[in-house]
Subunit: 231 residues, 4 copies
């Protein structure tokens, strides 16, 4: 029992370090202003959730340049604080809901990146008009319902939208994007890409019609990218 | 009397340092070009204005990378120079008017940030189409009247527009945004956010209709954010 | 034979260094996010392809800040790996096709730069509405066919579009820009310029009609720039 | 004679240093890509042109990060090379024409900044819809004729457009902005501001009508800014 706890503690520290470092990607890619955006990652022991099933998340209202591994917060899947000196992010309940209902998910990211927010404010999905969107999302990037912070409605909206989708990103209506991945790095990559394709599709639509990609081609792109790309 | 003066002098120096440092946020977030933008903060002693009621403001026409605490200017609420080797910002009268008529305000920021200026040039308020706008401004960001530098008309326009509004930002028509806060840091945050939401709402409107947020939801968002968010 | 091989090896190392360094230009000019974009250069010995006819290209899925000359990959004109510890870029077949069919070409660049992608998503050529476009491209920037990764269709589309064009850039439909040059530096310059003019022409068209430049003037601009400009 | 020449040489060296340093402002404010943009300054002795009447300008086709005072080029008002190891900028004839016909002008800047180019591509003046435009330009920013490099037509177009205008900036049709000032620093400031206001006015027009500023107010703004602003 003691040795198991020791192992969990080590994984928690590693996860804190990784989540703290990953937050630097958000201002780097221009996805956030001031304190508005957060990353979490599930703590895995030997690749699986521990019995306690915990995740590490950003503290609330702390600026990106002041973040450090020690300031990160550990929560259980009810969103309750387990370890940390700060209050967890105000979006913690949504992250917890995702981990609770999608056991295969290891990372969640939320931003208010500008172009993605513009699609979200209209409640309009981002069309799949570039091969890179087919590669990464396997189709359009869907819109989730309007939901207010304070209960499980945001988390529920994310899970219901993404559960039956190839997409790792959802645009929560009038709010902004949430992205998921098997770990936090992949969820961050999805958050970076969703803003990029939100901008490219915005620009394309401004001046006319996006030329549609045949569904068969999208299927091929998605399959190849998920299985062949990278090292 | 001497010790009181000594205390004020200490607060003045602290305020100069803080206001000088905060000016770095303006180019950092892309809110200004060349010298166009300024921040001021009221000098507080034990949390309240001193008898002299002073504020610290940027010198006129000095570039951001050349600013330092020593170059900051101290004025009284008539906008007259009390201490400093430089001429105060050409917007000093507007800042002074706000401090004179809104005793609860401790910081004022003025920029010509690009997207906010675009709304201001049309004389059009920024709609509340994202939860982050509800959080921060509690509704649309209002437009103030067209006013020329040289008398109190800019200050008056700011105060009359913001006095009965939840918003901490006003778009002065054909001019640009002014933001207020209980201290300068909060006014800077509002200046950063107003440009961000000006851009997101611009983009959203370019391609269609912004999906409206129910007033009740806006009220909830605003209440929670003002009372619960942060550490 | 040994001395020839030694010479090739030296050119390979120089080319690896140059291609690795040039990749820093892609994030610098905002042409890529994450790992999406790649540069290659043909290995020349005494200014001509060697008997083996090789080129150096980026490894697949490696981030720009982790690139180094040692990680670069050497391929032959069939796109087969000749030297290197990593898998070559997933766009290697397209680069190889260009080198195979355009012996005068020494460098190829592929990005997903945002404004260029917006024109590509509509399948619309970039008009020649600025003298800088006449200088660099000698006319509009053409669109190539929609093609899926996996066979030679991308390379074929690039070559068929550019072979009879003055342009060093092609917008592959629903995909993004490919650029060519007598060496990699020139292909990178074309990739930087194509995004810039894609943006300027996008903005110009948003608010009205682009004033056309007479064909005679375009011919003059192109001739002068190719023959007189620079040191 | 010797001492006069010595004095001129000293002023030339100072001017080379200043013009070289000022070129860093062009990429800093995002006004240029690759090598496309140049600054010149007239060499003044005791505040007046010397008998030789010379100016310092950027060498052709050299990248900004490789510039240094020694690489700068000295030309006479016919645009002929007087001193320097490099070929002068391909826009030298236009700079020379301005100095020849506007003796009060001490600095000229040319860029292809993106939003200004978009207005230039349509041949449309930038309206005066913000007080900052009234301050700096005293009215709309005018369009000059389409002109081809190779004779005096660019210089002539600049001079004829600006001679009877308050504006220090002209948008040469299908080409880009040229700005002037009593020295190079002021011409650079005008180049920075013209891009900023080109963007703000572009955005304003995208979503509706710009609210016009009364001519009387523009006159007041221009007069105050030229005579009162700054230290």
């Amino acid at each position: 029992m003691n040795s198991l706890n020791g192992d969990i503690q080590k994984r928690i520290e590693e996860t804190k370090k990784r989540v703290s470092d990953l937050h630097a990607e958000l201002p780097r890619w221009g996805l956030v202003v001031w304190t508005a955006g957060n990353i979490s990652e599930r703590v895995l022991v030997s690749g699986a959730p521990s019995e306690e099933d915990l995740f590490v998340i950003k503290p609330s209202g702390v600026r990106y340049e002041e973040l450090s591994p020690e300031k990160m917060v550990v929560c259980n899947l009810d969103g309750d604080l387990v370890e940390g000196e700060y209050k967890p992010s105000s979006d913690t309940a949504a992250h917890a809901y995702v981990y609770r209902h999608m056991p295969e998910i290891g990372g969640v990211v939320h931003t208010h990146s500008t172009y993605a927010c513009a699609w979200a404010a209209r409640g309009e999905e981002i069309p799949c008009g570039l091969t890179m969107i087919g590669d990464e999302y396997g189709g359009p990037i869907p819109v989730g319902p309007f939901a207010i912070i304070g209960d499980d409605s945001i988390g529920k909206g994310i899970v219901e939208t993404l559960r039956n989708s190839r997409s790792t990103a959802v645009l929560m209506k009038n709010h902004g994007p949430f992205t998921i991945g098997t770990n936090a790095t992949k969820a961050v990559k999805s958050a970076v890409m969703v803003e990029e394709v939100a901008k490219a599709m915005h620009l394309a639509k401004e001046l006319g019609q996006i030329s549609p990609i045949p569904q068969e081609a999208i299927d091929q792109l998605y399959d190849r990218y998920q299985n062949v790309y990278g090292q």
